[in-house]
Symmetry: C2
Subunit: 386 residues, 2 copies
């Protein structure tokens, strides 16, 4: 029975653990530095009937500890805070274990590709929803269309109940949200990478089952900028209309700055104060609170001499039975499915693998979509002429 170490016992880590423990007999252990987090993680697993998950306290900010955990396991899944992601990835590669990770590290995971190849390790990174499924579907589009001319990804996590002024709550680390509102957005235009200001290009978009949202530039393409040869690519974030202009005003006011300013003799980082004030307001406080994840991936190009548009739509709500957020489910399940594929030896490549590269494996994307559907996460595909 293969053993799996799941690094991080947050919402996503627990759902990965519970998913793996459900079938095919993985021996799953959750690792986290916090006993509370582990207890909550185990409680989430029990909530879906998985009593066979173990939990061990470990300092995952210490690469030596991560390496030891990985070495004692057959496979590793990563669901860590973004700032721990890169070091953990390196430690797992050094321990020579297959890895599926959704830690959303700011660093470029592909820097470790050579190390992973040398070690003969397969490390699938960014295998969540976006990054994750967005990359896989972009990869499918780039492979299917000849040529693929344009890929447009729009994605957002939203509260169902819109409350002024932000009409927003964060289903993942809100610090990462603020960072997205500041980091310049890399998009691809005419084959060249160009830099756009984050929160720019605000545009209304009508999405079935959701209504009118706004899309704006954020730095979401990540590895796609380098891995796909598609002349026009962009990723945009979706929010209820008005949010981006408001956050621009906060940014323009200097409230997202990370340089300290002097306030009555103290040095204060404006973003730290803003986080202190906003994050409690941006937190889902109950398992009943409506929350949704919406994504659309559109690709245009030629197929059998016709110009076609491929569209994939995802709309997922919090699971009312388990209380698990759509953001954690849509993120965790692709990682769990990828880990199962690693366990079955279905990923015939080594190195650090962003999800778009998995599109080259025959049938992989279809199997992924089918597996997600089994778990209630539905990607609807449409092909149309354009």
């Amino acid at each position: 029975m293969p053993t799996v170490a799941v690094l991080g016992a947050g919402m996503v880590g627990s759902i990965i653990a519970a998913d793996l423990a459900a079938t095919r007999g993985f021996n799953v252990t959750l690792h986290d530095h916090s006993r509370d987090a582990l207890d909550q993680g185990l409680e989430r697993c029990r909530r879906v009937g998985r009593k066979n998950v173990k939990a061990i306290e470990a300092d995952l900010s210490d690469p030596v500890a991560v390496r030891a955990i990985a070495a004692e396991s057959d496979l590793v899944a990563g669901a860590l805070p973004s700032h721990l992601g890169f070091a953990a990835l390196k430690a797992v590669i050094e321990a020579e274990r297959p890895y599926a990770d959704i830690s959303f590290m700011a660093d470029d995971a592909l820097e470790l590709d050579r190390l992973a190849k040398r070690k003969g390790v397969t490390a699938i990174v960014d295998i969540g929803v976006a990054p994750g499924m967005s990359n896989l579907l972009a990869g499918v589009a780039a492979k299917t269309l000849k040529p693929c001319e344009r890929i447009d990804i729009m994605v957002g996590g939203l509260p169902v109940e819109r409350q002024r002024p932000f009409e927003y709550k964060a289903a993942f680390a809100p610090a990462d949200v603020l960072e997205e509102y500041v980091r310049p957005a890399r998009i691809v235009e005419g084959g060249k990478t160009v830099i756009r200001e984050a929160l720019g290009g605000i545009e209304p978009v009508d999405l079935p089952g959701v209504g009118t949202v706004e899309a704006f530039d954020t730095d979401g393409l990540r590895s796609l900028v380098h891995t796909l040869k598609v002349p026009f690519m962009r990723e945009r974030t979706l929010r209820w209309p008005g949010h981006a202009a408001l956050m621009r005003a906060f940014r323009d006011a200097g409230l997202l700055d990370t340089e300290p300013v002097e306030v009555r003799g103290q040095r204060v980082v404006p973003r730290d104060l803003l986080a202190t004030l906003l994050f409690p307001k941006w937190s889902y406080t109950s398992d009943d609170e409506g929350e949704l994840t919406v994504m659309r991936v559109v690709a245009e190009g030629k197929l059998d001499r016709k110009r076609v548009r491929l569209t994939w739509d995802l709309l997922d709500h919090r699971d009312p039975e388990t209380g698990f957020t759509s953001m954690s489910r849509t993120t965790a399940f692709p990682c769990a499915v990828a880990l199962r594929a690693l366990a079955k030896g279905e990923i015939p490549m080594t190195g650090v693998i962003p999800p778009e590269r998995l599109a080259s494996i025959d049938g992989f994307a279809d199997r992924m979509i089918k597996e997600l559907r089994k778990r209630g996460v539905r990607y609807e595909a449409e092909v149309g002429e354009c």
Copy 2:
């Protein structure tokens, strides 16, 4: 030659001093704790040809010092930061000197009315633009219309150049602006004082020579709530559209709170940080920068058995010759004119006098409007049936 002490050598204080030094031979001295402020004040006086103004350093936060200055003068004008206003008013009353003040104190100046009456002192307070001319015109309306049913005051100081996201600069202390956005607004409805949330009731208003602005509730009626028996009265602030919603969002985020919050081990007052970030952006940086003050006072009621609407409109721009802001000019001139009236013995009443009470003096309001017009500040009056 009567001597006048002007308390505070800021923009408004210097203009009061220069105005008084211009004619009729007042012996004028500027007082301020800051040598720099005094030098700048004298420079402003010289800019308009007034070389005969003196300047003395003094700690005006010390009531003993203010009392001594007042005792040595025949008349006193006040143009102090709001937090010093009340103590200075009390000190001048105790020194038994006539006073004209625009210090915009948060405290209720009328608490000192009995003291002033006992001392036989005339202390005209809030004699700027709004409060100030708005009160005087409201007083005129209440006296003219029988009955006066409604008084609606709208006033704002605005930059000519609208720059996102705030489209605002503060022509007076920006801390007082933030306080206005938080302090509950007292308005009069059906003869009762009711409390409205500041920044509420946002409504577009078209003003000739300005364009579309927005009006919203702020706590501007001050003494009018108590002194006039008019069943409907409200004062609203004018800004370029969008400002109020943005400031509401800042307020809702907690950024205008004055309770400290814990940020990485330090206790930080959110409003202090916001002030640190915003005030440099909200400051006029050059004497060329377009700036305007716009006010409309509307009163409805009966006159000679007809229902009429009285309207006064003020639109004033920064003086291009002197660089003096419209806000400082429209504030300083009524104070200077009132002080001249005090000197001539034209104010036959004692106590703490808000400007609406001056409307009872025959011809006073007309003379004030005429004097302001000589100084380039034009109130246009209109009478219409309604």
